[in-house]
Point group: C2
Chain length 128, copies 2
């Protein structure tokens, strides 16, 4: 555990991508300040910094939909995080499994993953 | 194609997560301004805005490592994008398949995906 390498932006934040470790679906993009990152590493559960409420936020504290962190990675610029998690319930405040449920462009999900679509669907069902 | 819903931040940028549509590995977190988003949708290839160079950037223009966009989604707050892509070569400027290759915390990748590890490895190998 070494967070001194992480570069926080001018707001003191770093974006954190949350990915389901089993299904590999991307669930959320949220932000951490240094305290949220430390809490996440200490507790093994996802803590963020809410930009709208301007406060530290333990994911799932009120909803119960916590996220257990299985692995945390950072990128080549040290200014983005990727967390592989085991989610308890939906990631999104709307009740959806993932926050990324609206499509701007492209085929319906799965149409281009013909080779793997059955396996992907099975993984998602098991992971849910 | 409707980008008027997307909320750009005070810098005029929106973060875009790039995910391999086949292996489902997260490759990169980059940023788009409105022009980069329009170019991405028009051309079907990833365009970003480089914060360090402060210019529009067609991913792979010099390296050849372009990313064909199969699907683009946005999140519940309309302030983050997720692109499922077919990458031509490595995503990272270091030559790595993904920009997220450094681990802060957690088991070696795959240790917690026992049930699917062979399938995941196979998907990654095929996708590369």
């Amino acid at each position: 555990m070494n967070i001194s390498n992480i570069r926080f932006d001018e707001r003191g934040l770093v974006p954190a991508i949350v990915q389901d470790a089993q299904s590999k679906e991307v669930l959320t993009l949220a932000y951490m300040n240094e305290e949220a990152l430390q809490k996440s590493l200490e507790t093994g559960e996802a803590w963020f910094y809410s930009r709208s409420r301007q406060e530290l936020w333990h994911k799932g504290e009120t909803s119960g939909n916590t996220q257990r962190i299985l692995e945390m990675r950072y990128d080549c610029d040290q200014d983005a995080l990727l967390m592989l998690v085991e989610p308890q319930g939906p990631a999104c405040h709307t009740g959806s499994y993932s926050c990324f449920s609206e499509t701007i462009h492209g085929e319906a999900a799965g149409a281009y993953t013909d080779r793997f679509s059955i396996v992907n669907q099975l993984e998602q069902i098991i992971a849910k």
